[in-house]
């Protein structure tokens, strides 16, 4: 994948990449390596010296009930965000795709949640679900349900899932729509002539052809749920109640900045790094397949 | 304007030899066409003259200057590309003036030159348009305009007409010829189309797998091809080649075909006996006149009527043959015309090397 025609300058290319490489080294690689180094150290009680402890920090994490809880919470959270988000968006995209008129209008009207910050999404939905004078709380009270997500862990999970998924619907919708529109009409028409009804056509033709987009979106949504939803948690629940919504990335921040546990937090960072790398590798493997398709 | 000299020019990509050694002197003001099929190295040669490819061995001189190590922009050349290479976001005027602007020419001088080129190429109504608003022919003219305003020593053309439809190609061919008559700038033109080559060239360079098989004026290349390759490449339909054996001594020698048909060699020819390839152009197979004894009778498979002429495709002595005869003679598919071979216009080629035998 190289251009046949290139310029011959020797020094110029180095100067051109210098800004990006410099920033990448200073703010990416150096800190990342520091995180790895810190993760195998433990500070003494006064925070003055640290000593090498090998994998102790990691072992401690895996035995820490709170950390395991955080893992479970994150797994549940990302599972819900991904499945709900993708199913809803797929349904919407399929619906919009088969309409002859109005697709562009619907696109415009559904596109904007992407632009809302997760934290602001948290604020908005926090207000919707406000216990006490909140509108939903009132309705639920009429039905006999006591609503207070500050006290009830399950309710808290519900609220953060809704807030996080709400944002992603646009993104997923756009990609599904693009994927659907790139399926050649002639394929679907051929299937119809062959006698396949709309439902069968969807499962046997559309969905398989959409699978690269689907895999891509699964990875993107999981990464989103793991990493980009810090703002949602921080603005809505602060990881509570009783750590019911303490996702991994929130815990990393909390342990590192509020609880000042550098070693533990760094070890958590390293584990997160491994997860991201694995997910990105998976993502690129699937994109690779899509290109050859 | 300048002459261009190539001495021992070679090009290799790693171990692969693309050009095996070209020597050529292009005269000042000459229109030279480098012609050959895809992969023969003609574009590579042109790009080496332009400075877009590195010269592995040999020297190229423009004027009296060896330009091997000189940047394209400083060689005083201009190039017209196959895909026009117009800057899509610039207007026609800006496209044509870009090189001049870089060289720091004054706005007035630029204006003069662009207007003059626009006039020659009839581009004045299009000066403010963008390339995407132009037709293929117009874009090609803009590409030429860009070359003209530079007033270079040498014009280089890299298959400029390949992307145009047939009718437009004929039209643009004439325009290029007229342009050359008007401006008289040394021009090096690369094409795979032998009709373009024949009509435009002062001299042709016929290239075959990295070698120049023949360099000469169109008439010479046509009537005295140096190799079977040149003979078969130039001229449409292609020259016929028949295996033959020369028997007999000077004055009474004959070329004997595989089926025993004997064709008398012209009196002045002095050819040692042996196995050869006989090359005859389709138009040199003429219909036998009233009372004339034909040399061969052609078994016609398919006749292609072109209008004034008809091409008769058939077999002689087990080999395929094409003859070009007047249409009003009335020969069609599955006919058996008697043909006379104009031996004075025929050629003998060495069977192994393909070189023409001097007679």
């Amino acid at each position: 994948m190289e251009k046949r025609v290139v310029f011959q300058n020797k020094f110029l290319p180095y100067m051109l990449v210098a800004p990006q490489i410099a920033i990448t080294i200073i703010f990416f690689f150096w800190p990342a390596s520091q995180a790895i180094v810190q993760s195998v150290l433990r500070e003494d009680a006064f925070g003055i010296t640290s000593h090498f402890v090998g994998l102790d920090n990691f072992v401690a994490l895996l035995e820490d009930e709170y950390y395991l809880n955080s893992f479970r919470v994150t797994a549940l959270f990302s599972f819900l965000v991904t499945t709900i988000g993708l199913s809803l968006s797929l349904l919407l995209a399929v619906t919009a795709d088969r309409l002859i008129r109005g697709t562009t209008l619907y696109k415009t009207l559904l596109i904007w949640p992407y632009a809302v910050a997760p934290a602001v999404a948290g604020a908005l939905w926090g207000f919707v679900f406000l216990p006490g004078p909140g509108i939903l709380a009132y309705l639920l009270k009429q039905m006999g349900i006591d609503w207070n997500f500050h006290l009830n862990g399950g309710q808290a999970m519900l609220v953060v899932v809704i807030a996080a998924t709400w944002k992603q619907i646009s993104y997923n919708f756009l990609f599904f729509l693009a994927g659907l529109q790139s399926i050649p009409k002639s394929l679907v028409e051929a299937a119809a002539i062959d006698g396949a009804g709309p439902i069968r056509r969807f499962w046997t033709i559309v969905l398989p052809l959409l699978s690269p987009t689907l895999f891509f979106l699964i990875v993107v949504n999981v990464v989103y749920a793991f990493f980009e939803t810090f703002g949602v948690i921080h603005s809505l629940t602060r990881g509570g109640p009783a750590k019911a919504t303490e996702i991994l990335v929130y815990k990393v921040w909390y342990d590192g900045f509020e609880a000042q546990d550098l070693g533990g937090s760094s070890a958590q960072s390293v584990i997160l790094m491994v997860i991201v790398i694995a997910l990105t590798v998976v993502q690129f493997r699937y994109i690779e397949r899509k290109v050859h398709y | 304007m300048a002459k261009v000299t190539l001495k021992g020019v070679k090009k290799s990509y790693g171990q692969v030899k693309a050009i095996h050694g070209i020597d050529m002197e292009i005269r000042d003001g000459e229109f030279i066409v480098i012609v050959g099929p895809s992969g023969c190295g003609k574009s590579t040669l042109l790009r080496m003259i332009a400075g877009l490819e590195v010269i592995t061995e040999g020297t190229i001189s423009i004027g009296d200057r060896v330009v091997n190590d000189i940047e394209p922009a400083d060689r005083d050349i201009a190039m017209v590309f196959q895909n026009y290479a117009l800057y899509p976001h610039m207007s026609v005027y800006q496209n044509m003036s870009y090189g001049l602007r870089i060289r720091g020419m004054s706005k007035d001088d630029i204006e003069k030159r662009v207007q003059r080129a626009a006039e020659i190429l009839q581009l004045q109504p299009y000066l403010q348009r963008k390339p995407r608003e132009l037709s293929g022919g117009q874009r090609q003219r803009v590409a030429m305009g860009r070359a003209i305003v530079r007033e270079p020593s040498v014009f280089l053309f890299d298959e400029p007409l390949s992307n145009l439809d047939a009718k437009l190609r004929v039209q643009m061919r004439l325009e290029i010829k007229r342009l050359h008559q008007q401006l008289g700038v040394t021009s090096i033109y690369v094409t795979h189309d032998q009709v373009e080559a024949m009509t435009l060239a002062d001299r042709l360079v016929v290239m075959n797998l990295g070698r120049a098989d023949q360099i000469g004026a169109p008439h010479e290349v046509y009537s005295r091809p140096a190799t079977t390759y040149v003979g078969g490449f130039i001229g449409s339909p292609a020259m016929n080649f028949l295996n033959c054996r020369v028997a007999g001594s000077a004055g009474s020698a004959q070329a004997v075909l595989a089926d025993g048909t004997a064709l008398p060699l012209p009196a002045g020819w002095n050819v040692p006996e042996g196995e050869y390839q006989l090359g005859i152009r389709p138009e040199h197979l003429q219909l036998a006149r009233e009372g004339e004894q034909p040399h061969v009778v052609l078994e016609v498979d398919v006749a292609e009527e072109l209008g004034a002429d008809t091409l008769l495709h058939g077999r002689i002595a087990g080999e395929e043959l094409v003859a070009r005869v007047p249409s009003n003679a009335g020969y069609h598919d599955a006919s058996h015309p008697g043909l006379v071979v104009d031996m004075a216009s025929a050629h003998l080629f060495d069977r192994e090397s393909g070189l023409r035998i001097a007679v």
Binding site: A96, F175, H234 | -
Partner: protein
């Protein structure tokens, strides 16, 4: 759909419209909250129609800011929004410039270490700021960049997505344009500026939309870096205010601020929708 199913069509339209209403509901509620006084909101049940106080509340938010502890008493939304604007613009513009230059170098030059640098940039895709917050914070602190715009912006400015998008686009530019430019006498930077950048207009626009939103919506990073009130961004302020102990007193104001916080990025997306969608779908590859 090939078969004509008017009923299914109607259901489809209905589904989409209902979805749009549900999606827009939180914003609507926020507008309601922002358009009443705190007493108006406190009624049970909450009013479902907007009141008259919208502009009053928004004006107070812009000029004075919420009068509670959370972000620094009295930091005006105007300050917050201008910080957000500075951050978003600096990140968007900075990223575009740096990535254009890097992509140009990678595509149009051959030099030792090229592949090494390419992989370096690629790897950064796998390291979002969230996985390296403590050491990156330390670096910024050591460089004295806490509570500065530089500290807010610089670490976020070298992203791989923009570089890859531009690289991909550059690969589609015909080689002949470079050759024609060479013969015209244009050196590499001249070619870059006169030809390549103008041709990249749509990619640049697409990247701008995406990076502006990214920069505006940053949360975790400003949380760490901007402790002083005058450097907070509006998105950050909202998040912190939500959990402030006395937030209740200033709900209308906070909701008004939430509305302000989402307005610019939403406008950018809606107005530049075409480029935005193109940019999203292109970066997927």
């Amino acid at each position: 759909m090939i078969e004509r199913r008017p009923v299914a069509d109607a259901v489809g339209h209905l589904l989409l419209i209902v979805t749009i209403i549900i999606v827009a509901f939180p914003i609507y509620l926020a507008i309601i909250a922002a358009s009443h006084t705190i007493q108006g909101i406190s009624q049970v049940p909450m009013p479902l129609l907007p009141g008259a106080e919208f502009f009053t509340n928004v004006a107070r938010a812009l000029m004075e800011g919420p009068q509670i502890v959370g972000v620094g008493r009295g930091t005006s939304a105007l300050t917050l929004m201008s910080n957000s604007l500075i951050m978003a613009m600096a990140i968007a513009v900075g990223k575009i410039i740096i990535s254009l230059l890097s992509a140009f170098a990678i595509v149009y030059f051959r030099f030792p270490l090229k592949n090494f640098f390419f992989w370096m940039i690629f790897i950064t895709l796998m390291l979002p700021v969230e996985v390296r917050i403590i050491p990156t914070y330390k670096v910024v602190a050591d460089l004295g960049m806490l509570d500065t715009y530089t500290g807010l912006v610089l670490p976020l400015i070298a992203s791989a997505t923009a570089t890859f998008l531009f690289r991909q686009f550059f690969m589609t530019v015909p080689d002949e344009l470079v050759e024609a430019a060479r013969i015209d006498g244009a050196g590499p930077m001249r070619f870059f500026w006169d030809v390549l950048v103008p041709l990249s207009r749509t990619s640049i626009a697409a990247m701008f939309v995406i990076q502006f939103i990214y920069g505006w919506n940053q949360y975790l990073w400003p949380l760490l870096i901007a402790a002083a009130p005058e450097y907070q961004t509006i998105v950050l302020a909202i998040g912190r205010l939500m959990r402030a102990p006395d937030a209740y007193e200033e709900w209308p104001l906070i909701m008004g601020m939430a509305f302000l916080a989402l307005l610019p990025p939403v406008l950018v997306v809606v107005l530049m929708q075409r480029w935005f969608v193109k940019g999203l779908v292109e970066t997927e590859k």
